[in-house]
């Protein structure tokens, strides 16, 4: 396994310890619950915003804890929802009179853990709301599944509610805003290689030298279909068609465009994808008002990318423009 890892079972704790050591002034680490929280949270007048999820999606979510984003993250093991206890204990520690907003990516394990954690926290008298994110258009038929998965679009929900809560929005208002963002956000991804979970030590699936996995999930779940590899422009065109026709985004719309790297793809390639997406949106009469090209929600070391569109209005534009201070940073 070509990875920087010690004991695979300690992969997540050691990563969290690294984050804590690098941010001694702003973050607090509670090892027992994989909990990374703002050192200044909870605050009386501010709703606390918490995200769980599995690990392996970094910087989501432990590295986007900070002012204007999350107040805490309590991830489970790699690709595994956190245990109920993590959610409950985190909610207790983040309990603010203004309440706690639990953000949940729509997966069975996460929903169960957060539902159970919430029940227990409410029994303690804490005000809790759950907001579910499900932006992945790769999962078509919601009758047969628990519905769409929550993937990289999640970033926009966090950014918007994070900004609004810094401005003093109450819990109901945050739920409204979060739902609104989720409603106008769509994502689809493609994998060029499989990821290697540290505990498994080998790639999660095998992709031929000329194959790609279209509509892949961020846990290495197979996607819509396996296809022959094509060039960057053709890949963007297909991702864009799937995403843009889903809402649908229409001529005259102003959008945020995110090209999210899945972990093993260099940022140079992401800008190639961005270029084509921006140009093709322009051809559809859709203006890119905000651009995001980086790693936001990864799948360990998977080579690949996802494309996210968010339909903007003045409210969302203003919220996305607010500053934020998180562990993942360049300076």
């Amino acid at each position: 396994m070509k990875k920087f890892v010690n004991d695979p079972k300690q992969f997540v704790p050691e990563m969290l310890e690294g984050i804590a050591l690098a941010n001694p002034d702003t973050l607090t680490y509670v090892p027992e619950y994989n909990l990374i929280m703002r050192s200044d949270a909870p605050r009386d007048g501010k709703v606390s915003i918490v995200q769980g999820s599995g690990s392996g999606h970094e910087p989501a979510h432990v590295m986007i804890v900070g002012k204007g984003m999350l107040d805490a993250a309590c991830p489970g093991d790699v690709f595994a929802a956190p245990p109920m206890d993590y959610v409950y204990e985190t909610t207790k520690r983040l309990a603010s009179p203004a309440g706690v907003l639990l953000l949940v990516n729509n997966y069975t394990g996460d929903r169960m853990a957060f539902d159970m954690g919430r029940e227990m926290a409410e029994a303690d008298g804490i005000r809790v709301e759950i907001l579910t994110v499900d932006d992945d258009v790769a999962v078509k038929d919601s009758l047969y599944t628990i519905g769409r998965r929550g993937v990289a679009g999640n970033f926009f929900v966090i950014k918007a509610v994070g900004a609004a809560s810094e401005r003093g929005a109450d819990l109901d208002e945050l739920v409204r805003i979060g739902k609104k963002v989720n409603d106008v956000t769509r994502t689809m991804g493609v994998a060029l290689t499989a990821c290697t979970p540290p505990a498994k030590g080998s790639p999660l699936f095998e992709l031929g030298a000329d194959e790609m996995e279209f509509g892949v999930g961020i846990h290495g779940e197979p996607g819509r279909e396996r296809r022959p590899m094509t060039n960057a422009d053709a890949i963007v065109d297909e991702l864009l068609e799937a995403v843009a026709s889903d809402l649908p985004y229409a001529s005259g719309d102003r959008v945020a465009l995110m090209i999210n790297g899945l972990g093993g793809t260099p940022i140079s390639e992401l800008y190639l994808l961005y270029r084509r997406a921006h140009q093709q949106l322009a051809a559809r009469g859709i203006t890119v008002g905000r651009s995001y090209v980086n790693e936001y929600c990864t799948s360990l070391d998977m080579a690949g990318a996802s494309l996210t569109l968010v339909r903007l209005d003045d409210e969302l534009d203003g919220l996305l423009a607010e500053p934020a201070e998180v562990a993942i940073r360049v300076f």
């Binding site: 599995g54 690709f79 394990g109 169960m112 047969y144 599944t145 999930g217 290495g220």
Partner: protein
């Protein structure tokens, strides 16, 4: 057939040992159309049970099972933590304060476990999950016991059913859990949770034969 506290402990130990021994195998099964962590989650969960083994409250089998369920539900993540935890909790509650469990009670406990999983997972038989082994296994066990078979024979027969049911999940399309995202592509491989139950049943049958039952 009756089962005392020793038997219940033996069953839990066997389940735990099976989970630990099959970490890689169960993980591989979950890799095909899932995310490959099922073996890891299950092993870490039962590792916690084994670690705390001596401190688990043994007032009666029901209490013991509930405490095991609490450890799993609260400390194990993924989909399996809540589901397996719920199963043990419900089985324990159904056992009540009995010191000795009758065959009927065991069947009722297994049904409660299945119902707990259905409720928690919003799933049912036919969705290509562990329920597709747990339910037919329980049905067969009840059938055999009602028909007069002794514990060992009934378990052996139910285990054969479990294996067949696990193999048969290969023909199904997943409708719940992560595998369901792949739709038709989930056909052709067995469900990891279902197969894990079959392997556990086989291990229990084996130890029942070698160590006998009360």
């Amino acid at each position: 057939m009756t089962a005392g506290p020793q038997d219940v402990e033996h069953v839990v130990r066997t389940i735990a040992q099976t989970a630990l021994d099959n970490e890689t195998y169960f993980g591989e099964l979950d890799s095909v159309v899932g995310d490959g962590d099922f073996g890891y989650s299950l092993a870490r969960g039962f590792e916690k049970v084994v670690e705390g083994w001596d401190d688990i409250d043994r007032t009666d089998p029901g209490t013991f099972l509930k405490k095991v369920g609490m450890i799993i539900a609260s400390r194990v993540g993924g989909t399996s933590g809540p589901l397996w935890g719920t199963a043990f909790l419900r089985a324990g509650s159904t056992a009540g304060a009995s010191a000795e469990l009758t065959g009927e009670q065991v069947v009722a406990m297994l049904r409660a476990a299945a119902d707990g999983i259905k409720a928690r997972g919003q799933s049912d038989v036919g969705d290509k999950t562990l329920l597709d082994v747990l339910v037919p296994f329980t049905d067969r066990l009840e059938e055999e016991l009602t028909g007069g078979a002794d514990g060992g024979a009934a378990l052996a027969a139910a285990t054969r059913t479990a294996r067949e049911a696990a193999d048969a999940t290969s023909e199904m399309v997943a409708r719940k859990g992560r595998a369901s995202y792949t739709g038709e592509r989930s056909r052709g491989s067995v469900d990891a949770g279902a197969m894990a139950l079959a392997v556990i049943a086989e291990r229990l049958t084996q130890s029942w034969t070698t160590e006998g039952a009360s």
